[in-house]
Subunit: 707 residues, 2 copies
Amino acid sequence: MDKLDAIFAPESVAVIGASTKKGKVGHDIFANILFGGYKGTLYPVNPKAKSILSVKCYTSIANIPDPIDLAMIILPPKLALQAVEDCIARGIKGVVIVSAGFKEVGGEGLIIEQKIHQMCQQANIRIVGPNCLGVINPSAEVSLNASFSNRMPESGNISFISQSGALCTAVLDFAADKGFGFSKFISIGNKADVDELDLLRYYHKDPDTDVVMIYMEELARDPEQFIREVREITSGANPTHVLAIKSGTSDAGALAAASHTGSLAGPDAIYDAILAQAGIIRCQTVNELFDYAQVFASKKALRGDKIAIVTNAGGPGIIATDMSENSGLKLAQFTDETIRELHRYLPPTANFHNPVDVIGDAARDRYENTLATVISDPGVDGVLLILTPQSMTDAVGTAEAIVNIARNSVKPIICCFMGIVDVSDGVKLLQKNHLPVYHFPESAARAMGALYQGTKWLSRRTLPQYDIQYDSKKAEEIINSCLEKEQYILGELDGSRILQCYGFNTLKMELATSRDEAADLAETIGFPVVMKIVSSQILHKSEANGVKVGLETAEEAREAFTEIMADAAAYDPAAELDGVLVQQMAPSGTEVILGVSKAPMFGHAVMFGLGGVFVEIYKDVVFSLAPLGRNVARRMIKRIKGYPILTGFRGQPPADIEMLEKHLVSLRAMVTHHPVIKELDINPLFVHAEGEGTTVADVIITLEDKS
Amino acid sequence: MDKLDAIFAPESVAVIGASTKKGKVGHDIFANILFGGYKGTLYPVNPKAKSILSVKCYTSIANIPDPIDLAMIILPPKLALQAVEDCIARGIKGVVIVSAGFKEVGGEGLIIEQKIHQMCQQANIRIVGPNCLGVINPSAEVSLNASFSNRMPESGNISFISQSGALCTAVLDFAADKGFGFSKFISIGNKADVDELDLLRYYHKDPDTDVVMIYMEELARDPEQFIREVREITSGANPTHVLAIKSGTSDAGALAAASHTGSLAGPDAIYDAILAQAGIIRCQTVNELFDYAQVFASKKALRGDKIAIVTNAGGPGIIATDMSENSGLKLAQFTDETIRELHRYLPPTANFHNPVDVIGDAARDRYENTLATVISDPGVDGVLLILTPQSMTDAVGTAEAIVNIARNSVKPIICCFMGIVDVSDGVKLLQKNHLPVYHFPESAARAMGALYQGTKWLSRRTLPQYDIQYDSKKAEEIINSCLEKEQYILGELDGSRILQCYGFNTLKMELATSRDEAADLAETIGFPVVMKIVSSQILHKSEANGVKVGLETAEEAREAFTEIMADAAAYDPAAELDGVLVQQMAPSGTEVILGVSKAPMFGHAVMFGLGGVFVEIYKDVVFSLAPLGRNVARRMIKRIKGYPILTGFRGQPPADIEMLEKHLVSLRAMVTHHPVIKELDINPLFVHAEGEGTTVADVIITLEDKS
């Protein structure tokens, strides 16, 4: 038996801090359990009351004569601490602390919360909260509404996790309005113990839960563990589909970042990475969350991107077509047989091609025949059916027909019954049979798109990992020698040497400290050369006119040295100028940026994107946290919008994408071996044609100053 | 008196084709008018019935003894035609034809529709439909529900225009569910006569309409007239705010377009241009349409982008903050005085900075004092207030306080009362007082963003037009000489000559037909030169290896000629090769693309975007139709995402944006003078630093083959 069973399906519940006063949380939660028809036994605890709502009250949990599974605690922090001690002594299995005033207010509240957590950990008891709305399990066998919302939702196969209690009330109201059913519903508040991952594990094993909706404020645990576990939960033959709204303030980005990567690695980008890697579909609004949950709850997969649309009205058919295409779907091309078949059932004024218009006066039969025909077409992966109430419309009959056809097909059918009142009986029939149904065609089409996204995740390819050798010992030596010199910002010379240890191809380069040395080095390296200022203070060299390319002669190298030093001094008179780097000219290629940034909460995030303005203005970059192997790397590269630039654009040969994948894996290995690396930008990296590798054209590495 | 008054506020209505059979449209519309409490006089017309729903029935409209304002016609096309003749003879002022079977089925239906239109035009009568849902006017003085929806919406200051009848029913149900009120509601079907522009003119004059929602399928009239008139309607001191959902199939783009511009000028991009130029806010979903309508209906403007958020729960406050920032808003920084003031009213655990958290146990007073304080802060342009139902929450009291404060402030207050049931009395109070209120914080924040967008449109700058001289006569000569030669695709030589007439700076260039000529021309033009293949069949020269840049010597020019001709022949053996263009090397600059495409329905659309992959992969382009003067041009340039690249990026000098504006205006003039131009691509145009102009690096112009 899972310990969370004591929370979700307790045989007995004690409400500690139950109150006789209506409107008080301690009263309302007790009343909600009592009047919610809880199937177990309920005990109020309050030293001052004889009974509450006619139920005998106990002065302390110690005095209850029977075994108790779950304690709901509604008491201020100090009393709550005492109550938890009593609960442990009493052998209680689970605790939900509803009250606020703990970690979120700091000080003593935080200390008490930590103490409670320790005590319960030792006693092997799980805690939900503090500072939460409570727990709801609407299933007929339990019927527990241990929350301060007086609405018990209907029973269904979707479970909900909310960090915010406030949102819960609104979501319950919204769900009631939509006739939406839940399997389990929980608010986790401060997450002193039970958090999203615990619940996802539990829900994944729960036969009554197929879809989980999360409202997440922040992830307070190791993201790598979260990603590793959740991606198993969302994958495989029996996946749990997870949808999340994640809110995170946009201004919390690392303002003082020395690298592009660092400045782009805001919490929003990082959570995007976590959710994508875990296979969680991110939603922007509560409407989207509900719309998508419905379609995943129907337990069908959209095996391909070709859909058929069946409608009895032109306008909504057009909207559905548009939104489908915007959601990554395509309209299927029917076979001749399908079209011949449709001619048998539909009047000549109908549209026999996709989107099929069965015409306004369609009754049940026309819908039934059309749906049965198009869903059998081998080129159709799913059907979007639109019904608008018109004079001959038979919403209930059509719904019955849809339910019958859906029962015998593996392909998903998503319905849009427009209008709320006229079609409500049909809608209810569809809902009862777990057929997703929406009020507007754009919602239906968007949900279909989300379903396709989900199916793609489930059927993603997994290739064997690359076997790459690294010289981490040498890299360690370089890093240590920099740290000894208290040099925390590493320029191209040291950066390139470290990258070489991880399989990157770098350019020949030497530091010149005089005009003549620059000319000599250029001769040795071979013309043409590039020359760049070297100064710890000048991070963006081109802004300081500190880069000159295509220098062809010794004389040009000499002059370039003088100009670069002069311009750098003018740009930042306080900068310490080490000299000018003389570098082999990079062979041309597509400019990309690779980077790493370390966030305090999340560890290292690896970034990939196209270089130049693509990163700076279009912000067309993507992040991944650990684990980052070959498959994650491949999906990262494909996720940027500019991906076609790499696959052979305008007669250009395809770029060496495999080498890029290896580099991303290697960068991950590098920061795992050398966690002192705080930020890294390889900008640009030139990617050459397939099989021809890449060249690092510039690199900057920042180390953590732990002194 | 406006002729549409007979449609929206008739003193008497005849229902021609009224029926005694429940479920028939002719019965239901009659019943809906009758039971909807219509304030005028209602006459059923049916040759076979004595009375319908107890109301005396007439065999023909000719027999009704009293004057009739409006005829609702529910009859098949041939009988409808006869009925319209009778109506005209009877002196009726307006006609609504509900029945289908006209233009949309083609053939005889189309012919009858055209005949009806002609007859009514001659008789000076307006027609709505055919193929429409009807007309609704919920105002107490009229109370007309001449539709086949049995729901009469509440009265409000928002009017609705729908092309689709099907959507109307759904929208009415949705509105009823949201407690949403309408001023006028109309479905226009085939638009034989009355269309969106007619109704926008009427609604603009209507004192009861402040906001118009449109569901548009296609615009069947001159877009220039539409833009000119609607931008006046949406502007000025007494604007009508217009919101629209526009659906248009994505695959209808010009597939065979010879230019980038042509291939990007799909209907979606064109409608984006029309709506943006007309000042119409485009919505993607019906939810958005309703959310935005509510905020504009409140008749307040958001003068700046700084908002304050007041909440009693952390989570929703974070969501609101995020979505506000995503919607182009910023969180205001409070003055010290505001923060001091807040300390007087809020408990120490509150958050005194934006977003202000008044803490879960806030009752009315805390909300009232906080709202009054932050709205008085000079740095705050508007307030988003979030209330989540908690134990001390006083939804109605807080709503009262908000209403009082809103009454005395010019700044908008947008509310989010979370939960549907618990807070419903507060929500109703807010709605009654025209305060926009939403269920979820992201909807509220998005609506605030839309309001800001609307206010920006109202306060847009209008600068005097540029005075540019053109040599349209010379351009005409060049075009005519090409047409005479049956040359419809003009390459760089002719294209550049035409562009010169319109003030573009082009490069020195000559056509070489032999190796030696190429070398000679290069000497004359001056090294380095660019060489390009010239062939009407090869439009994308670089794909054919047909461009060589930076040629420095006569020998290089000679070799380049041979290679270019050989590669072109290999690329397309059927291509006719005119020779190789030898061209002055363009001075460097930012690559942009300017283009024109002529669409059959819309006329010429002028495009602007960044060149290269920005246009091809990121599709970061924007279109405008006529009228296109200096101000539209300026807003076009600012609308692309890559705009910062032009304003001085990474130490680059700002580009000559004024010259770009002039070019856009000039291109518009060019295609107005020479409508035979079908497509035009200037790709790339190099934009130099401010004041230094631009250089055309390549151009292709396609003329219409009218033979």
